[in-house]
Subunit: 330 residues, 2 copies
């Protein structure tokens, strides 16, 4: 079968593509494990790290939300779709119409293209904890109302409603995963308010000093890149009836404070590395970050077999192994 990965050249998408290539098979909507003949990567441009040379890999670079593009990505051979392509939170807030076009209308086009196929393909949709916001209970669960306070979060919440209703109608076989903050992200710090959560680990391990703009007690609800890729694959493998009346699930994660992150960094890499983090508060970042939900109960996800990381030290060690070639600057 063919597997489509939108946003497949991005940070998470490309890891998912590599995991699919390595695994070589996926459970189809018939319930059987089927070998993957082709992985079609759709993204706006090529990945930061080139893909391996693999005859199963096809790439299509361009805007999937334009005109008829979605219909050209999905065909009768499409057995599974991982829909990760999105305008990220900062950009969706700055350019509202672009966010709506890609995150809402683009998602609908992908679902509609799937709906036209005789064999209802499985679709795993990347949603986000950004669907939560505003006045929230101390501990969130799957029955907490979605009251997003960003356009990105609103568009993801609408995407979830589409995935649920299209699935209920039998048009698709969808699954929507609410992703925690992903730590450790490789690359450079960016304008995202969550950037610090990766930067305070990533930069020190590469010998660079870094500022933490929030207090040591700040908690982050997080999941590692390895574990989120495992969750994507697990979501596709699950039988339709494992989802019950909702196709959405908040993925498990762990709540780790900045203090705990640095303690784990000290344990893994030594005091000298952790000492490269300085604390200079940034009121702008603080205001955003202190409004985030940091504590969740994710019983539903756990019963369904989704798993979070077990120890934060493992998250750091996996980053060193996967992104720093196994070494760090002491």
């Amino acid at each position: 079968m063919q597997v489509l990965v939108t946003g497949g050249a991005g940070f998470l998408g490309s890891r998912l593509v590599n995991a699919l290539l390595a695994r070589g098979s996926i459970v189809s909507s018939s319930g059987d494990e089927e070998s993957i003949d082709e992985i079609l990567v759709a993204d706006i441009g090529p990945p930061a790290q080139p893909f391996p040379d693999d005859p199963r890999l096809k790439t299509r670079y361009g805007d999937f939300s334009e005109a008829d593009a979605a219909n050209q990505l999905v065909s009768k051979n499409t057995g599974a779709v991982f829909h990760l392509a999105a305008i990220v939170s900062g950009e969706a807030e700055a350019d509202f119409d672009k966010g709506m076009r890609i995150n809402l209308e683009g998602t609908k086009k992908i679902l509609d293209a799937c709906r036209q196929q005789a064999d209802c393909p499985r679709i795993v949709f990347a949603s986000s904890v950004a669907v939560y916001g505003g006045d929230m209970p101390d501990v969130l669960d799957d029955m907490t109302a979605l009251t997003p306070q960003t356009s990105y979060g609103s568009q993801k919440a609408m995407g979830e409603l589409l995935v649920n209703d299209y699935s209920r109608k039998g048009f698709i076989d969808g699954r929507a995963l609410r992703l925690p903050t992903i730590v450790v992200r490789p690359g450079k710090p960016n304008a995202a308010a969550s950037s610090f959560a990766s930067a305070i680990l990533r930069e020190p391990l590469q010998g660079q000093e870094v500022n933490c703009p929030v207090s040591r007690k700040t908690g982050v609800w997080l999941l590692s890149p390895r574990q989120v890729v495992a969750c994507f694959l697990h979501a596709a493998d699950l039988a339709s009836d494992a989802w019950g009346q909702s196709r959405s699930v908040a993925l498990p994660g762990m709540t780790v404070t900045v203090e705990e992150m640095l303690a784990a960094l000290t344990k893994v890499a030594g005091e000298g590395v952790a000492a490269r983090v300085r604390f200079e508060p940034d009121p702008f970042i603080e205001k955003i970050v202190y409004g985030w939900a940091t504590r969740f109960t994710t019983e539903r996800a756990e019963v369904m077999g989704f798993r979070a990381d077990q120890r934060f030290e493992d998250v750091i060690e996996a980053f060193i192994e996967d992104d720093l070639g196994g070494t760090f600057v002491e």
Copy 2:
């Protein structure tokens, strides 16, 4: 100022139009009470009861979701919009694409037309308790997750997300009201599963026998036509900052069982009238109705000044007065 009422020829819309004509003024987004120069009624066709002859009243019949129609309804004079037009639940379920076109895309077109105006108009959006569904807590509140189990409910939930995000961005000044089941509806029984809740009062009062397809213990979460019109007007009058971080609110209502409805009917109209209701269960209707949420806490709405009916007898008496010309068949 001009007031636009989409769905203004419908059962609730036409009552709202009459209430606006009678009141003659409405609070504009500037916070001042302004007189209404024009009420523009947009609907697919004329109302069942002709509107009064009033120079302030303009009508535009046609599909507001088509091409540029929304832009022709909203102008710089538009000070308030009541957006009630929708494909109802049964039809949205039977014709998915029509529901999406009117209930989701049409709503977005109305919001976009308003966004283009320099003076951000107030928009009151009619949502529904159909946004709730599936596995729900025993008593619902404003923080209960929206997990609709119909396309209508999904489209209303997406409409609420749009109203919220457009308002947060300052594009519009929106308010979304989740309406309970409206009882007593005038007219004929229809295919809606909730049809019995009005029929078991309406038909006996007109001398007709009627079947109740659900048990006497069945509860209904309801609001009268008079009270919902009062809530629409109150929603438009409220200052923007009364809404806090959410522009959605579940309206107050009352939970009344079939048994309690018939007791009130006996009190108001006598035993002979109530005896016109017979009980023959309909498993199809039962299955739908028993899945509905019947108990809510609506503290947020009450703090904001929204009010439910006080006594169910009043609901029946108002129906006799408003829809039966003050008399009934004993």
